[in-house]
């Protein structure tokens, strides 16, 4: 048998390239750690970063965080809706994996805006934006369908000079969005796949913004603990 060269290794200590054994460094500030270290959600942290990370969770105005989450999620939603629409237009199908991408884009946008806090409120926000992002991709098709209706053509012919003010445009858009929001459920069981696809997106947005408590382990002593000397 043409077998490759065997491995001859020692397993007493882990070896790290020729530069020698690396010192323990903090995953947050990248500085060397002395004395004691902590583990925050599986990452090594020095004492200063341990308290800094913890305080970042609680500091800052909730309103500012919520607004930032709205903006972050909104940007994610616009990008996601663009991708979802482009793929649907190119292929003619709604695809579960693409819906997941929308959910992730919105979810991470909200998470970024909230400073990584997570929780029920942010989860609900992410789910709402994701739903709006996906159903907004139905708007062109709905508008097209409305334009094809004979009643619409008749109305336009009868009233050719309907004033296009910002208010009428907003009203029309709102009406179309309402139709888009209920559209997935109009076909009932026939659209069970479509509803499931949207469900995957909502689940991802929800999951990304779940409240993740900081799991702080430590302090861990570096080197042997000094022996206590009798007084």
């Amino acid at each position: 048998m043409d077998s490759p060269e065997p491995v001859s290794l020692r397993f007493d200590k882990a070896k790290f390239d020729e530069s020698g054994t690396p010192s323990l460094s903090c995953a947050f500030c990248q500085r060397d750690v002395f004395g004691t270290y902590y583990e925050i959600n599986g990452q090594t942290a020095c004492e200063a970063c341990r308290f800094r990370v913890e305080s970042e969770r609680t500091e800052g105005s909730p309103l500012v965080k919520a607004l930032r989450a709205l903006v972050g999620g909104g940007i994610g939603g616009i990008v996601g809706a663009g991708i979802y629409y482009a793929v649907s237009a190119l292929t003619g199908y709604e695809i579960g994996l693409v819906a997941i991408i929308v959910g992730l884009l919105v979810g991470f946008g909200v998470r970024w805006g909230s400073g990584g806090v997570g929780g029920r409120g942010y989860q609900a926000l992410a789910v709402a934006i994701t739903y709006l992002a996906i159903v907004s991709t139905y708007v062109p098709a709905i508008v097209e369908e409305i334009r094809k209706q004979p009643e619409a053509a008749e109305t336009l012919a009868a009233e050719p000079e309907i004033a296009l003010t910002p208010a009428t445009i907003a009203l029309a858009l709102a009406a179309v969005m309402v139709i888009a929001m209920v559209a997935p459920f109009l076909a009932g069981i026939q659209n069970v796949i479509g509803i499931l696809i949207i469900g995957f997106a909502l689940y991802e947005a929800w999951r990304v913004n779940a409240y993740k408590p900081l799991q702080i382990e430590g302090p861990f002593q570096i080197g042997a603990r000094p022996k206590e000397t009798p007084a």
């Binding site: 060269e5 065997p6 292929t91 696809i197 382990e217 861990f220 570096i222 080197g223």
Partner: protein, 318 residues
């Protein structure tokens, strides 16, 4: 936990002491190394690769030992693959016997996948969902196509000695196989990634053959949708099958595939190919293109794209 050498405290998630680097699983690693050496002595590369893959899980990924073992696994992998594909008897693959043996071997493997309760139950749940939307005949065909695709991945993972879960169906999304260990290089990743579409192509071709013989539209629909799903999975992005396959390809191989996609789109007019073309074009310019390439993965990619695109031309009302 306290380090036996330097007395430092070791967090539960660590594989080595942060100070003196004593390995936490030292005894188990030594046992696995002996097991691997013994397997090498017996000329059993499959047993050896299994032991080394287990050892990789217990080592810090950036350690020299991990790198050495990954290199050994990488070198052993083609040997194991070759051995798995080698016929046991020179006559076994002759003529009709070859077809019978292939169907029996793969058929047994396919049925074995159904013995897992998670696979079975999730498959029935998916079947119910697709049944409600498309009727039972198409639902059954779709489920079978997805299952065969996933079992292609399972077969490749099994052949390479990589531990993984049985397929789990997700209604509306497809199915997934969760890896418990990971490919050590781009070549392995490509073999695992492209195995699904290869088996999926087999399922689509079988459905197409029945369609051409019987002219029953349902078989044409199963063949066409099956081919489309496999084609979608060849998108060279993220953790999709195409993304795994593309990792191993050199820049010139990527450009050839991009060119082929342009031609296939011109021929078939299938919109999905535009998406594949765009993503493949971006990836062809990407800095991460493999320098040496992988002729096997390249060939598989070309054949898959051409055959699956051709199957999307089956003219049935969907």
């Amino acid at each position: 936990m306290q380090c036996a050498d330097c007395g430092s405290e070791i967090a539960s998630t660590r594989l080595s002491c942060p100070v003196c680097h004593r390995l936490v699983h030292r005894e188990e690693l030594e046992r696995l190394a002996k097991e691997a050496e013994a397997a090498r002595g017996r000329e059993e590369p499959r047993e050896e690769i299994l032991a080394w893959r287990r050892a990789l899980e217990l080592l810090p990924p950036d350690s020299d030992q991990s790198r050495s073992i990954a290199a050994r696994v990488s070198a052993l992998s083609p040997v194991v693959e070759e051995q798995a594909e080698k016929p046991k008897s020179p006559w076994r693959w002759a003529g009709i016997g070859a077809v019978v043996a292939f169907v029996v071997t793969k058929g047994k493997f396919l049925l074995a996948g159904l013995t897992k309760s998670g696979t079975f139950l999730s498959m029935f749940l998916s079947l119910g969902v697709y049944w409600a939307a498309f009727g039972w005949k198409f639902a059954a065909g779709l489920i079978a196509s997805i299952y065969i695709h996933e079992m292609g991945h399972v077969a490749a993972l099994h052949r390479l000695g990589i531990r993984a879960s049985a397929p789990m169906f997700l209604p509306g999304l497809g199915a997934v196989v969760r890896m418990h260990q990971y490919p050590v290089d781009a070549r392995e990743d490509a073999r695992v990634g492209l195995a699904g579409p290869i088996w999926g192509l087999g399922a689509a071709l079988a459905a197409a053959a029945v369609f051409f013989v019987t002219e029953a539209p349902i078989w044409g629909a199963i063949a066409r949708v099956g081919a489309w799903i496999n084609l979608f999975n060849l998108l060279p992005v993220w953790q999709l099958d195409g993304g795994r396959g593309f990792r191993a390809l050199s820049r010139s191989e990527r450009f050839w595939i991009t060119g082929l996609l342009a031609g296939l789109w011109y021929w078939t007019g299938e919109g999905l190919l535009v998406l594949l073309l765009l993503v493949a074009g971006v990836r062809a310019f990407g800095a991460e293109a493999g320098s040496s390439g992988d002729r096997v993965a390249f060939g598989q990619f070309l054949v898959l794209l051409a055959a699956l695109s051709a199957l999307t031309l089956i003219d049935v009302p969907l």
